[in-house]
Symmetry: C3
Subunit: 326 residues, 3 copies
């Protein structure tokens, strides 16, 4: 078991070893139990973290801000109206100064081609751990919560069939960070991942290659398909969710490409193709009746609220280990 | 004395019994004394509450956020720029998830025909107590602070003559929740309530009927009049305040209706009609020189700051009882 | 040593005696050591302060909000979107009510001719200490952090040659509060201050006169010049920074006046005129390549991050003494 975490950045789970992630899951489970029993967990008493949001958020912001408070510390919530980035403040200045003022920096910046670079730049200069609250490439907070949720529901992760499936949405363009994180992470736990999307919604080649390496090394598998029905068939877990053609090589107009694929919806009918105990997951907010039928997301196979709740416990575990750990 | 409150919603005082409200007043008084003596009151240590504001606020936001901090907990301040309601987040999703992340949800939503429904919807799905920070119909946080203030000033509430009076204002349209809460609540404490307004500013019939029932049951009384002078005459307490013709049956244009009633102002002259120890109250912010003459609101009969201060102590009492109580 | 501070306003250092400022520096140093050693300093446990910002801020907001949290208390962050000033809330109402809700009020209001008056008005009515987070005239939080930084770097402040120098900037018009605070404060510690700017960027006469009095009384000196090179020559500390011609008597168009003085930049060449151990300071955010060459602000003579860090420790000292002190 890995036990040295203090100061470790949390930018992508790819940079955390299996043992480190195992510890993170253990700590998450412990914090969840304590929360249920109303046992105080002031592991970060009087500690402060800066929560920088370049985009709106509900689960991430609230799980982090409530989480650090439940740990006895405080999070300064900063959005674009309260940061001086526009006034010539470079990442270096922000990182050096905020890390001197407190014990952690967490940041959401999903701008394509910018977000991850910004986080890396912060990490280079910060004297405190930098946490990724979603960038253009990764969403490790979501990934770790998903992993905890699946482990709680199915127990043994080995050979668990999980399908990460593109879905149609009318709402704002979603980053690829959630599916990218999932296809990288799940094979490391021996899961059999099916990754399904219409042509034009490919992930970058380096990401797919890394996912395959992860599968090879850890005994999981990756199957890529453009056939939605294939992805549902026999699945234990389905995660249908929209993402944009950010990384795609398609020459088709993005709006036309999107409308062409309205059929990619998680329906009751699709769910009948899956394993009879199949579970439905979504990072939320879902585009109801576009990504998914209400009867599915509100139905007995849906575990979206358990998944959302685990964002709290895992966020607290990440902060506890990196900001307060040994 | 009622002592079981944990998890009880605080949407309207109408759903709290007299005994429950009595306990709330006792706890408010206790917390006020402790605050004055600088005695720590960490009754909600490491607990978290979500403070959702669909409209701006000064007293409510600050009394809640400072209040929970003084109780050892933390409030996540959320306004429309930091909630994902616009991104397809329904009340159910918000309520389930936030209540799993923390120990209470408080919300201001004054949209006519929407606010109270939204709160009820939240309460239906929330596993934590839901608190009303003002909706289109009720403002129980203001009501309980007003009641505490009056009790502190006049002692015996029975037969206390309180006049809730419409007043002209130039500033933004005010909801009916403050007067509606007052005419429902005060008769329950044996007060003689005069409710005065120009034609067109009626409250909904159901509210008036409920107020009369409250008076009948508890020994108070309700008198309704369109004569401002009658309302001031002999009053122990006057509460002149603007509200919109939200619930009115008037066919007159709202702006014309408003301008026609510029004479409904709390003046020095009006105050001379009242009891010689009359007290002036206002929930603030007041539209100075429109609702009230400066010499009245800043004068010796005004208790607006004591009334405002009691928002803190009563808010802390509501949180302590519902989030941390037995 | 001065030890009675509770309730003392912090609007300008001019109203704090040398002994009081000495104590403030001592406490700052102590809090800095404790922070370095991770020793808890819950001197303001469960105490609350209101942080009112009429303008954006990074260092000030974060040093205050993280600072109060590290002291065990909580800061309510309020910006213009969350204050009801626009709805007819006068300074008196705000000050009376917020001071009854908590233990301190801190405010940034840089509007020329308004900011300081607003703070004075708040202080008149507040029952809690009022702290200036920068107004149109003063920035005592920056001044005290600068003083601590210089003392840490040069040890003996007597006869230390510090040059406060105007610099060209493209970005938004800066208030005069930083240089005004510095020229008032530094002479009180026996420093030899050179104050340099192009014609049109004068400080108000009363400020210069007060600075000279301070120099006469405490053994420092003030030299005023319109020659940039003279200001760099032999300096131990240089603080080149833009400010607007707010108080100037110039009849020239402000934009023309500004562009005419593009040459007022802190360059490597200028730095060679100074003492060989010269230190470069800036309150940040700097207008890079306009106020200063990157090679200077990022170079070995720059102490801007140490200066910025001290904003945290001094802010905590101000709060500890005025809100929690004897």
């Amino acid at each position: 078991m890995q036990s040295i975490f203090r100061g470790k950045h949390f930018i992508t789970l790819q940079e955390w070893t299996r043992e480190e992630i195992d510890t993170l899951l253990e700590v998450s489970g412990d914090l969840k139990l304590d929360f249920a029993m109303d046992v105080p967990t002031p592991y970060l008493l009087y500690k402060t973290i800066f929560l920088m949001f370049f985009e709106q958020s509900t689960r991430t912001r609230n799980s982090m801000e409530a989480g650090i408070a439940q740990l006895g510390g405080h999070g300064n919530f900063l959005d674009t109206s309260t940061m001086q980035i526009a006034h010539g403040e470079v990442a270096k200045d922000t990182a050096v100064i905020l890390s001197r003022y407190g014990h952690g920096i967490a940041c959401r910046n999903c701008s394509w081609g910018i977000g991850n670079k910004y986080l890396r730049d912060m990490a280079k200069w910060s004297s405190a751990p930098v946490m990724n609250l979603q960038c253009d490439l990764y969403h490790p907070m979501q990934g770790i919560a998903d992993l905890l949720t699946i482990r709680e529901k199915v127990g043994d992760l080995k050979r668990c069939k999980v399908s990460v499936i593109w879905a149609y949405a009318k709402s704002h363009k979603k980053p690829i960070s959630v599916p990218l994180t999932q296809v990288l992470l799940f094979p490391r736990y021996g899961m059999d991942v099916t990754f399904a999307y219409p042509q034009g919604y490919e992930l970058p080649d380096w990401a797919v290659n890394q996912a395959k390496e992860n599968a090879d090394r850890h005994g999981g598998s990756i199957r890529i398909t453009n056939d939605m029905e294939e992805a549902y068939t026999g699945a234990n877990i389905v995660i249908p969710k929209n993402w944009g053609s950010w990384a795609g090589k398609s020459n088709v107009d993005p709006n036309e490409l999107l409308e062409r694929n309205r059929g990619w919806k998680c329906t009751e009918r699709m769910m009948t193709l899956a394993d009879r105990n199949v579970l439905y997951m979504h990072a939320l907010p879902a585009d109801r009746e576009n990504e998914v039928e209400n009867s599915v997301i509100d139905g007995p196979r849906s575990i979206v609220y358990d998944e959302a709740e685990n964002r709290l416990h895992t966020a607290k575990a990440v902060m506890t280990l990196t900001m307060g750990g040994k």
